[in-house]
Amino acid sequence: MTLFHFFNCAILTFGPHAVYYSATPLSEYDTLGTSIKAAVVYLITALVKLVCLATFLNVSETDSFDPYQELLKALIGFIDVAGLYFALTQLTHRNISQCHKFQAVGLGWAFADSVLHRLAPLWVGARGLEFTWDYIFQGLEANANLVLSLSLAALGSLMWLRKNKPKTLIPIIYACAGIVATMPSITSYLRQGLGWHLPKIVGFELFTSLAMAFISWQLFAACQRPSN
């Protein structure tokens, strides 16, 4: 029974990544190499973040929301953005269109994030006899994270890879990118500062990720039109 539950939660957490890869033209253009490279860059970024957090952050005994600490965490979170920049611009890709490049990088990024943050708790926890809703919520969170990573990658590619953008849209692009990049800090503020419970937080994440995806899709389409 419990291995069954583990299997269910695993396909909820990792299934969408595989589905996305096979459903979109990514599989036809064989962009797996790009995704894997993006995943490796994510790992290195995570290690760097860990070292910075350990060095600069002091562990608080209480569970309260400390603005200064959260600001520090947000700043360190921008290392994420730097890593994404590196993955998008510096890695050599074969000739794949920008449209597919950001998708592949975003997919690899989100997959590495899910594996690193969610596989171990899933394996240890979901196989026990005890039943909790936590792992299902964790899977939903992984889905939201996938959408957020894709939107961040899209905005990133717009910012750094596309040279001719309509002037009016540039501030909007940067603003959206800023919002998406600071999403982790917002979530932790909601959890600790306002005391929201897991279902509410997951709902909020799903909603915002869909909203940001829609906005970045519109922006991307808008930027695509002049070059066509």
Partner: protein, 568 residues
């Protein structure tokens, strides 16, 4: 663009790092797996023993079934894969009697005792508690205990306490049962798991008898010719749950009394001017519930000539209840002059203390192996003996041996003090030839007064120590403590170790930890799988339609590699 070589060197150190991480993960996994439950409680198993090959008690220890409550007991449902959780306060004894009598199959039984019967609760005891609710629970426990220990139960029976976690689980289970559905693998609910190995026989259980010797004032002929008086009590217990059998009244009170009398007489005998012309022998025997097996072995180990110098022996059994009536049980007929003399001495002192002492005669039948009182073992070797007890009727085998209901809160230490004074005063008047005279040797507020805090501290210690003989090792701390205490008060102390007689065999595994898990049913998992499958399929179709167009989706449908697809 910077071209970083990230192939060979990084791969070289990545693999060992990953393998060590995986090993660490596996180690963490196995540790975390064990503390996964909603609740973990300590539970104590029903005793498992054989008498002459006949099995009694609960024969299994491992438990792994769904939980059910008393609501189910009335229906005709099949309970062979259910563990019933029954609080003692609301217990229906007829149900238990029926299901044991008719050998109904049951997955297991978890009986919940009220929290104030817990051994950890000793500090909160004040005066002896006599509320009617507690008395009712006590009576139910006595009956339940007798029922359980004389039955052969093929499923595990455990005793636990009603703490908050278990109570909330029980409330949940009752609520689920009210819907009429049995909790099984397909309907979810709670699962109770006790991981215990198969119970094994205890090979050669030892019983330890401790004796202390206070020599009397030697006349010119040497102390061997002085008569001896023995004061004996049995210190071990037997009950339905061996890990909870503390026997505060049944054997604890006797032991405390022997220790206090030893202390008082050691003060008297330390000064040669007040040393009496009798030797005193203090004995603490084991094997009481099993026909006083230990006493028999102890007496046989004594030299026969020495046994003949024993004038009489006083055995103490259950003197802790707060009634004003004590009984002297004898096996020699009451018309016997010696018995009359001793009884008169006791009655005189009892009158002064406000107690009432009665005399009861029970003939011993040598061919009957049943030994109901400790003094009968002395009588079988032709030593005059009597038992002082609050019980008026001889108990049956394994009855009144300090079981679940015999707890500290039902014992009155003032009664023990009074009984100690009764025995000590009568003894002292006999030893110093002051019978019939109005003299108070152990007067209150004197240096020879009975010490209530001594009694209380030993009683508290004994009430926190389960003392079922087969489960006490040779060097158990309690036996060492009793030996040390006797060494403080007497001149010569001996500990005799024997093996318990062959007809009783005991099995181990008396306490375990119970894990309570909240489980979801298989139907839930199947529904979840169905939901997730359809979600992924919808996601797939949506992505194909938006990125490649509807025609691609339909062409996938027509592909020879079969995929079961439902178009939205």
């Amino acid at each position: 663009m910077a071209n970083l070589q990230k192939s060979e060197p990084s791969l070289g150190f990545v693999i060992p790092v990953y393998s060590s991480v995986i090993t660490l993960l596996i180690i963490v996994m196995t540790c975390v797996e064990l503390c996964d439950a909603v609740t973990v409680v300590d539970v104590y198993r029903l005793v498992q023993y054989d008498v002459g090959g006949m099995p009694f008690g609960s024969r299994l220890a491992a438990l792994n079934h769904h939980a059910g409550s008393a609501v189910l007991s009335s229906g005709a449902a099949d309970l062979s894969r259910t563990v019933l959780i029954l609080p003692i306060r609301e217990l229906n004894l007829t149900f238990i009697r029926e299901s044991i009598g008719r050998r109904k199959p049951l997955g297991g039984l978890l009986l919940l005792l009220p929290l104030d019967f817990s051994p950890q609760d000793i500090e909160n005891i004040g005066e002896a508690d006599h509320s009617s609710a507690k008395q009712l629970v006590k009576e139910v426990l006595v009956e339940l205990e007798q029922l359980l220990i004389h039955a052969n139960i093929p499923y595990p029976v455990y005793f636990g306490f009603e703490d908050d976690d278990v109570n909330s689980v029980l409330a949940d289970v009752k609520r689920n049962d009210a819907t009429g559905q049995l909790a099984t693998a397909t309907t979810g609910g709670y699962k109770l798991v006790v991981a215990a190995p198969e119970p094994k026989k205890i090979a050669s259980p030892t019983i330890s008898n401790t004796q202390g010797w206070l020599p009397g004032l030697k006349a010119d002929g040497g102390s061997n010719q002085l008569p001896t008086i023995a004061i004996v009590a049995s210190y071990d217990t037997f009950g339905a749950a061996p890990a909870l059998s503390v026997g505060s009244d049944s054997s604890g009170s006797g032991v405390v009394a022997v220790l206090e009398i030893a202390r008082l007489f050691s003060i008297l005998y330390s000064n040669p001017k007040t040393r009496g012309r009798y030797n005193l022998l203090f004995g603490m025997t084991s094997g009481g519930p099993y026909n006083y097996n230990g006493t028999q072995k102890w007496l046989h180990s004594l030299d026969q000539r020495f046994r003949e110098t024993i004038d009489y022996a006083i055995c103490l059994n259950s003197i802790g209840s707060s009634s004003n009536e004590l009984w002297m049980h004898v096996s020699k007929p009451p018309e016997n002059a010696y018995i009359k003399q001793i009884f008169e001495g006791f009655s005189n002192v009892a009158e002064e203390l406000g107690l009432k002492v009665g005399l009861k005669h029970k003939k011993i039948n040598i061919s009957n192996p049943r030994v109901a009182w400790e003094h009968e073992q002395f009588s079988r070797l032709r030593v005059t003996a009597l038992t002082v007890s609050e019980l008026s009727v001889a108990p049956e085998l394994l009855e009144s041996t300090g079981g679940l209901s015999d707890k500290r809160q039902f014992v009155d230490e003032a009664s023990i003090s009074r009984s100690v004074k009764l025995v000590a005063e009568s003894l002292a008047r006999h030893i110093y030839g002051q019978e019939g005279k109005t003299i108070d040797i152990f007067a209150d507020n004197s240096s020879l007064a009975v010490n209530p805090s001594y009694i209380r501290s030993w009683l508290d210690l004994l009430s926190a120590t389960p003392r079922v003989a087969p489960f006490l090792s040779k060097n158990d701390p309690l036996i060492m403590a009793l030996k040390k205490e006797l060494t403080d008060h007497t001149v010569e102390v001996n500990v005799q170790q024997e093996v318990l007689d062959g007809i009783f065999t005991f099995y181990d595994s008396t306490s375990s930890r119970l894990h309570i898990y909240q489980v979801a049913s298989v139907t839930f998992d199947l529904l979840l799988l169905l939901g997730l499958g359809s979600y992924l399929i919808v996601l797939f179709s949506f992505l194909v339609i938006t990125t490649r167009g509807l025609d691609d989706l339909i062409s996938l449908f027509r592909r020879p590699s079969s995929r079961k697809m439902k178009t939205a």
